[in-house]
């Protein structure tokens, strides 16, 4: 088990700029990188884009990546949707859709890591996307403690790397960059309609997203109970 742990890492993977650069950095340090892609079943589409990116990585690093796709619909419904109307009234913002989705993904990732004896988990969280609730330093820190409770080390390989540097690296190495539009590249990773709706006022009007640290911390703390229950029920875990 210990030998396996040092050789493998799991990475939450969409195929976007951040998670692709994270995958490239991780493959330099680990023998095998497990790319985990999750769909929540509610307005999440375009997973062929992720598969195309996995193909690109496999061409460059044959045999070093394992791609795992799974639905987290049940988990998402349990963590987030079962109480969403009530939560919206209590928290006064729709951030819980994105945060709840991410927590469900992390719950499933904990299970995956434990099933496969993987001691390191990672994602493409980045400081320059910290308007996104799940990429705030506070959220990243709380997710770190979630994994720590399950004896898994949480790594954020591209957190402080600027967007331009990451894009330049992918362009230099010949990865597909999609269609540039404003500050983004379209068509390189799955889309999420509810997520787009939540960040639409920011994109259209420069209006700050409606969440603050205190509220987000309270939400994550409350949902930890559900996440821990889910992990336990899926047959693993002593955390929480």
């Amino acid at each position: 088990m210990a030998g396996t742990r040092k050789k493998s890492v799991a990475l939450m993977f969409s195929g976007g700029v951040d998670s692709t650069v994270a995958a490239i950095r991780l493959v330099e340090e680990f023998d095998q990188v497990h790319l985990l892609t999750f769909a929540n079943g509610y307005g999440h589409y375009g997973f062929g884009r992720t598969r195309r990116r996995v193909c690109e990585l496999n061409e460059r690093y044959p045999g070093r990546f394992v791609h795992f796709e799974a639905s987290i619909r049940d988990l998402f419904e349990r963590v987030c949707l079962s109480t969403i109307v009530e939560d919206y009234r209590r928290f006064g913002s729709a951030f819980m859709w994105c945060m709840g989705c991410k927590l469900a993904m992390h719950a499933r990732s904990v299970v995956y890591c434990r099933e496969n004896g993987i001691g390191h988990m990672s994602d493409g969280s980045a400081a320059d996307s910290d308007e996104m609730v799940e990429q705030m330093l506070l959220s990243v820190s709380m997710i770190h403690w979630l994994y720590a409770d399950y004896d898994i080390e949480y790594i954020v390989p591209v957190y402080g790397i600027g967007r331009d540097e990451k894009r330049a690296q992918l362009r230099r190495e010949g990865y597909f960059m999609g269609i540039p539009l404003l500050d983004r590249y379209l068509g390189i990773q799955p889309s999420c309609i509810p997520g787009e709706l939540y960040y639409l006022p920011y994109i259209l009007f420069n209006k700050a997203p409606g969440h603050d640290e205190e509220t987000v911390a309270r939400y994550i703390s409350e949902k930890r109970v559900v996440v821990d229950a889910v992990v336990r029920e899926l047959g693993t875990g002593s955390g929480g």
Binding site: R25, E29, Y42, E77, L81, S82, I84, V85, Y88, R89, A94, W97, A127, D128, D130, E131, M136, L137, L138, V140, S141, H144, E153, Y154, I155, V156, P157, V158, Y159, G160, I161, I193, E196, L197, L200, P201, Y202, L204, F205, N206, K207, A208, P209, H211, D212, E213
Partner: protein
């Protein structure tokens, strides 16, 4: 938590500036505001119609439909009142007290 290479936050980085995004609060033109409102309404209307239809057929979509309705109304009111939205009027900015 482990950071790789130069990915660690720099000294002095903290959470004080979080939650907004680099463009939050920057002024936008009236034209962008008007076009944005149109796009905003159209996108939400399309999603709302889809969720209303789906809610009739599939019970699991009903809480999502209810959530979306509340969210859209709340956000529409905020956008209409320009809460947190700054229009670039081209004039000098005034302080809060009008000085």
């Amino acid at each position: 938590m482990r950071w790789f290479g130069n990915s660690e936050p720099e000294a002095g980085d903290d959470m004080a500036g979080c939650c907004g995004g680099k463009n939050a609060g920057k002024p936008i033109s009236r034209k962008r505001y008007a076009l944005g409102m149109a796009f905003f309404a159209a996108y939400h209307a399309a999603v709302g119609a889809a969720l209303t239809s789906a809610g009739v057929l599939v019970p699991r979509f009903r809480p999502v439909r209810d959530f979306h309705r509340r969210y859209f109304l709340h956000l529409w009111q905020e956008a209409w009142r320009r809460k947190g939205i700054h229009l670039d009027t081209g004039a000098c900015r005034l302080d809060e007290d009008g000085a």
